[in-house]
Amino acid sequence: MSLLYTDEQKELLAMVREMAENEIKPYVQEADEKGECPRELFDWGFKMGLHMLEIPEEYGGTGLSYETTAMIFEELAKVDAGYAISFVTSFVALRNVILAGTPEQGKYFADVVKPGRFAAFALTEPNAGSDPGAMRATAVKDGDDYILNGNKTFITNGALASIMVGFFKTSPEKGNRGISAFIVDADAPGITIGKHENKMGLRLSNTTDVTFENVRVKASAMLGEEGSGFKLALNALNLSRAFVATMAVGIMQRALDESVKYAKERKQFGEPIINFQMVQQMLADMAIKIEASRCLVNNTMRMMDNGSLVRKEGSITKTFVSDCAQEVTSNAVQIFGGYGYSKEYPVEKLMRDCKVFQIFEGANQVQRMTIAGELNREYK
C-alpha cells in the first residue's frame, strides 16, 4: 500500500473490508453469472451508510473528502467493482446537484437517497455518447412546468434509482448552450425503464435505457440556469471521471493479490512459478502500475478536495489508470494460464470488469483529445 493513511482512514477501510469480504464476496460469482445483484447485498452497503459518504453534512450526510471516499471505493472494488459503482453512480448524480443546485435541491436529493435509495445520471443517448451536444431529448416549458421527452441509454442504476439528474435540450437551436439539467423523480408518470443490458463486465451494476414520454417536472427542478446543462455535465463528469479510476485501482489490486498468491502455489518444472524471472517481471510491472495509479488517483482526489475541477487531471487519471488496469488484469489471466481463462477462477472477471473503464465517462481517445486541447491552451 503506497498511501499514508490516517488512523481514521485505516479504521474505515478495515470496517468496509470486513463487511465486503464476509457479506458480498461469497455471492459475487453467482451474481456476476446472473448479471444482477440481489437487493440484500446492496442493503449491507446501505446499512453501513456507503450511500451517504459524499453527501455534505448539512444535508445529513457524512461529508467525507473525495480522498477518503475514493479509498473506501477502492476497497469495495477489490471485492466487486459493479457493486461499488452502484453506490458511486448516486454520487455522480449528486455532484451535479452540489455544483449547480440550490440548498433546497441538495436537501431534497439527500432526503430521497438517505433511507437507502439509489440515484442515476441520465446524459447519454443512443447517438450522443462522447458528443453529448448531439442529444435529442427535449424539455419544453409549459406554464410553471417543463415537459420532458427523449431516450437515454446506458443509464447506470436505471432500474434501481429513485431519483435522477437528467439532461434535456430547452433550446435545441442553441446547440450545447441549449441544454439544461433537471432533478427528476424516477417514479414520475411517463418514465419507462428499458431492459437491463447484458454486459461484458460490471455485471452486478444495473444498466438500462430510460425513456421519458411527456414527463412533467416543476420549473424549480431545474439545476442552475437554463442552458447551463452542458457546462454542468462537463464539470461534473471531470470529477466523476477522476473518481471512477479508484475502482480500476481496486480491480488491479485484486488482480495482483490473486496473481501473487497463485504464482507462489502453482508449481511447474518442480518449483513455484514465482521463482521464474519471466513471471517475476510480470508481477513487478503489475505492482509498479498499481502503485503509480493509486498515487495518481490520490493526488487528483486531493486536488478535488481543494476545489479544483481537474479538467486535465481527471482525463489523465482516468486514461492512465484504465489503460494500466487493462494490462494488469490481462497479465493476471496470463499468470493463471489455462485456469485464468476459466470462470472457476476469479481473474477473467477482473479483465471483463475493467474494460469499460477505458470506455465510460468519456472514451480514452476522447480523453487524449481533451488533454491535448488543454495543453494547446496552456502553451499559448
Binding site: D7, E8, E11, L12, M15, E18, M19, W44, K47, M48, G49, L50, M52, L53, T62, L64, I72
Partner: protein
Amino acid sequence: MNIVVCIKQVPDTTEIKIDPVKNTLIRQGVPSIMNPFDKNALETALQLKDAYGGKVVAIAMGPQQAKAVLREAISMGADEGYLVTDRAFGGSDTYATSYILSQAIEKLGPFDVIMGGKQAIDGDTGQTAPSIAEHLGATRLTYVLDLKAEGDKVIARRQVEEGIEVIETKFPVLCTATKESNKPRYATVSRKLYSLRCDIPELTIADFPDIDTTKIGLKGSPTKVKATFTPKRTATGVNIEGNSPAEMAGSLIDKLAEAKVL
C-alpha cells in the same frame, strides 16, 4: 430500557503465551480485539434498545489501550463508553474484577439489564459476568439467546444442553450471551467517525470512595495460578461415515462390538 455491556479486550490469537514467573498471559505484541462473546452481548443490548428505547452503556476494565474496544462498541451503536482503569485494579482475578465492575455499574446506573459475554476467549473462566450479578443482587441468566420485556417482567430464552429453556423473571437481570445469540452488526460509517473522535471518560479508584480496597487488585484476588499448561491429546476420535443415519449407526455398533464395549 437502560443497558450496560461489560466488554473485555482480549488478544486476537489462539496461541497463548504465558509469563513463566507470574503465570499470567503475556499481552504485548499480540493484536487486541473485543472479546467475540462480548460482541454478541453488545448486539443483544442494541437489539433491546432498538425494541424498547433507552440507552446502551459500554464499560471495560483495563489499561488505556482498552479504550479501543469501547470505541468499537460506540461505532456499533453504544451510546457511551467508560474505561475503568487504575494501577490499584491491576492483577485482579475474576472475583476482584467482578467486584470493581459492579461498583462501576452501580455508579453509572441504575440499569435494567447488565450484559456480558459467556466467557472471554483468553481466560475462558466464564466467571466474571455471573459474579457481577452476585455483587449487585441481580438475577443471573447465562447463555441467553434473546430476551423480551413484558411490563416489569423479563422473558429470556436460554441455551442449555438439553435444548432451550424459557425463563420468566424480574428486572434487573444480568445476562451472558453466546455465539448462537445473534450475528453482531457492523458499524456504520458515521458512528465509526464519531467513535474515533468522542471522549471516553475514565473511572479511577478516586471515583469509588467507598470501595473495599481489600477486594481489589492482585492482593484482593483469592485466585492464585499455580501452573498453566496445554494438556496433551491422548486419544484420537474416529469419524464414522456413511450414506444414511441407519448405515452409520450400523457401523458404530460394529465398531463398539469390535472394541468389546457392547
